[in-house]
Amino acid sequence: MKQILVIFLLLASHLTLFGIVFEHQPPEYYDARDGVELALVLLDEVESVISVELCYGRLGSPAYTTKKMDNVLEQRGYHLVRLNSAELQNVDIQYWFRLELLGGGTVLFPDTGMDQEPLILRVVDAPRSDEPQQPEDADDEFGSGLNLVLDDFKEDNPGLKGFVLLSTNDYGPQEGEYVLAVSYHGIANLIAPGSIKVYVNDRDVTAKAIITENLLTYRDPWPMNELVKAKITAKDRYDRSLYSETFLTNVEHRAKKNIATPEGKSEFCRRFPRFGSGLEQLFRLGGHPGQLQKAEPDPARSPP
């Protein structure tokens, strides 16, 4: 059934006009970053066509521009033209072909003079097949450090610059709790509503994050790691993936303040002198908590 449909479509694209047989397969869309190539192939009466021009303009506008098509295979009448992003201007365009004939005549296809509608080429509304898709489950991606590095260097992702980390360490390392604050003010109009996902240390924490129209925050009062990594993903209105760089944040654990100093004293000892002497002995002995009871008792503190 599919083969029959393909054959039917191919036959439909072979058009006959004034004895000239040509073929054009209109692309469905174009990507502004890549531009687009349009081809017109003359299948018969190749020698009767002197040149082919592409006429194009903004969809719905009477103004148009022409661009000569290159006859890349002269004997076979393969005419090609490339429109770059500056010419396309990232808008939907309408176009038609103008064929200059040997006898001085002109043929338009589609013939706009005969009230035929010009062909329409829309700016991309579907993901490119060669574009790597962001996995739905970012856990797999987080498992590969190489992927993270490669992702961070993709320049065509507006999320890399659009997601801005606000909770930087310029006020010093975060103490005890982990706070993630990310702004996307600059790309907020690109993001599809409800598509933002927040990943912290490989876990999807979107449900616990506060997500507003231009910034999001997430707070973990008891982070497990001292180095916390976070990543934001979203979809744009064309269902393409946007994702941030990987944000790394240092979190200083509350317990870290109680670690003994090189002098053998600890902040804990200073704040709680009642327990401090025993701990100081422990640190002098270089033992571990299990040896605390084996330390020599302090005669000054021993009961009478």
Partner: protein
């Protein structure tokens, strides 16, 4: 819209007549009043990522944040204490208010504090700030200058010095006072006759 990215001590946000505890990650709204405690500090960043605000202890400010075009109109009204403000972008503007005086800047780093009485003091570390009083008077504050805003709407400016900063402020800001004010380099020779340039700073 802004967010608290750093909170130390017990600080409060007054919103719609209610007191809320200010914690890191809290999203701030237009009209919020922030107050730091005696040992409190707050770090705030605006949603556009361009402005940062640091409230030192015993400080009270009111935020006025409203979207305008593609950006935000950001205004911070100083009611008490001192704030360190940075705006890092050339296009977004941030304004400070004190009484009837408004201060505008786009790309600047400055300290704004309320002095005793109804006076205020503005110190510009980088960039420049423009002050407007209610009479329409304009005063441009250039880098490394401190300007006193007097209650009568008058301005007095001078070069900044270390006395402009408290210990708490100096711990965070560390402005050009890191550079020695006085410096002299004297060439001396060692026992082997090698010339060594010795720099004295004080």
């Amino acid at each position: 819209m802004a967010v608290i990215v750093h909170s130390k001590g017990f600080n409060k946000v007054r919103r719609d007549g209610k007191n809320l505890r200010a914690v890191s990650g809290m999203i701030l709204q237009d009209g919020d009043e922030l107050k730091t405690s005696g040992k409190g500090q707050l770090g705030i960043k605006t949603a556009d990522g361009e402005g940062s605000l640091f409230l030192f202890s015993k400080t009270k400010v009111k935020l006025n944040l409203s979207p305008i075009g593609d950006g935000w109109e950001k205004n911070v009204e100083l009611l008490a204490g001192s704030i360190h403000v940075k705006n890092t972008h050339q296009t977004g503007s941030l304004s400070l208010s004190f009484g009837l005086t408004n201060i505008f800047f786009t790309d600047a780093d400055l300290l704004f504090k309320k002095d005793k009485g109804s006076n205020a003091r503005l110190t510009v570390f980088s960039g420049e700030a423009i002050m407007y009083d209610r009479e329409g008077g304009v005063n441009k504050i250039t880098p490394l200058k401190t300007s006193y805003i007097l209650s009568k709407g008058e301005f007095i400016s001078r070069w900044m010095n270390d006395s402009d900063l408290t210990e708490e402020e100096r711990a965070r800001i560390e402005p050009l006072s890191q550079l020695p004010q006085n410096r002299i380099t004297i060439p001396l020779t060692d026992e082997q006759g090698r010339v060594l340039n010795v720099e004295f700073n004080w």
